[in-house]
């Protein structure tokens, strides 16, 4: 089964076309890194794949489920880590995890939550309210959610932003673990050096069109 199948996908705001006729397939166990200049439509594409926005034309499927007509089924198997942390300031790290997982119909045991928090380096701050967290700590807590939720498709918008070196290492480890269990990762990023350490395939979105990159091209400066 194809993890992400995009067919002739277009998005326009009024007369302004963001991208046109994008078609590509991503398979289970792949980590796809999407590059491109500011305003190229990377985040828009990610938001469409995460069912937050509807495409203007075309269609896409996530593990065989139509992303427009079967949104609810898609939402059960994906998880998005975006610019906004999706965390509640007045809840603690532990409470935020309980709430986020609760809405996914999961109720992890306290020991599982502790393990996920320790794994991302947030363990000592488990009872601290999010309003006291830095941007990097929030990002790590987002990754703790993915450890517990184990989504089939992990969508990441600029995952390395705000992370220190240790955070980047943890992020790439967690991406690798997702791939090891036949999950799929789709990320948008400007940070080619960090992304190419883990990405198996990639593409450049520019001028409304997508240029797919092979693993060899990913490592070459010439295409960027």
């Amino acid at each position: 089964m194809i993890a992400i199948q995009v067919s002739n996908l277009s998005k326009a705001y009024g007369f302004y076309r963001i991208f046109e006729d994008l078609s590509f397939d991503i398979y289970p166990g792949e980590c796809f890194a999407l590059f491109g200049p500011n305003g190229a439509g990377k985040t828009t594409l990610l938001r469409i794949l995460s069912t937050l926005q509807a495409p203007s034309h075309g269609q896409f499927t996530i593990f065989g489920q139509n992303g427009v007509s079967q949104k609810e089924a898609v939402r059960e198997i994906i998880m998005l880590i975006a610019h906004g942390s999706h965390l509640y300031d007045e809840l603690s790290a532990t409470e935020n995890l309980q709430f986020a997982l609760g809405l996914r119909g999961q109720s992890p045991a306290p020991s599982q939550i502790k393990r996920a928090l320790d794994r991302t380096g947030i363990g000592p701050f488990a009872d601290l309210k999010i309003r006291q967290f830095s941007a990097g700590m929030k990002k790590r807590l987002d990754f703790a959610k993915t450890i517990l939720a184990q989504p089939q498709l992990l969508l990441l918008d600029e995952p390395y932003n705000a992370l220190d070196h240790a955070g980047v290492v943890i992020t790439n480890q967690l991406i690798q673990e997702t791939l090891n269990r036949a999950g799929t990762v789709f990320m948008t990023t400007h940070d080619r050096d960090k992304a190419t350490q883990i990405a198996t395939r990639g593409g450049i979105l520019k001028g409304g069109h997508l240029q797919l990159l092979s693993p060899e091209q990913l490592a070459t400066d010439a295409v960027f």
């Binding site: 937050l52 949104k71 939402r75 975006a82 007045e90 709430f99 119909g105």
Partner: protein, 225 residues
Amino acid sequence: MPFFKTIRWIVWKDLISEWRTRETMSSMLFFALIVILVFSFSFSMDQDAARQLIAGIIWVAFTFTGIIGLGKSFTSELQNDCLESLQMSPAPKGAIYLGKVAANFLFMLSVEILLFPLFVLFFNLDVIEAVGTLLIIFFLATLGLSAVGTLFSALTVQIRAREVMLPVLLLPLAVPVMIAAVEATRGALSGDPFSFYSQWIQLLTIFDIIFTVVSFWLFEFILDS
């Protein structure tokens, strides 16, 4: 996805957040106190006029206080883009709606229960025999307001002028609830037999059912758009 667990999680999150900040309740209480004081001084010279108008005064205070709470219900979801996480949550959207309605209902009813003794005090009301009926009226009218208010709070949250748009959209729809609540409250406070004003309580019940069912079905569309 467990429907009732989702409702429970939303109520838990809203109550615990409010308990820690006391942001919504304190602004609701402060506004309501000002309304009570202003009306109390306005009618201090004429207690008879006050008794004639007290039901209306109570529901003006409760409705506008409720609008403050309803306005904050979804703006709190804007921080850290939490609204997005609700949008793309696999949880049933109807359960998220009912969770929000329950939390708003609890905030509004708590404020009403705290404020009503002040109305009794300032306007010298004799309510001993009507307390049970009044509680039923407060329960039904507050449920109606929170059912329709929660929907409009979600609808206006992404609009820049949401503080203006929420009352503009909500109040015309809330008029039937307010009229029924005022008439039933007036009947209960005047000591009229229950049968004299029971039709208003029936009307409140019907509005609650219609508003809740319609809003329940519309919420998914609103959250997704």
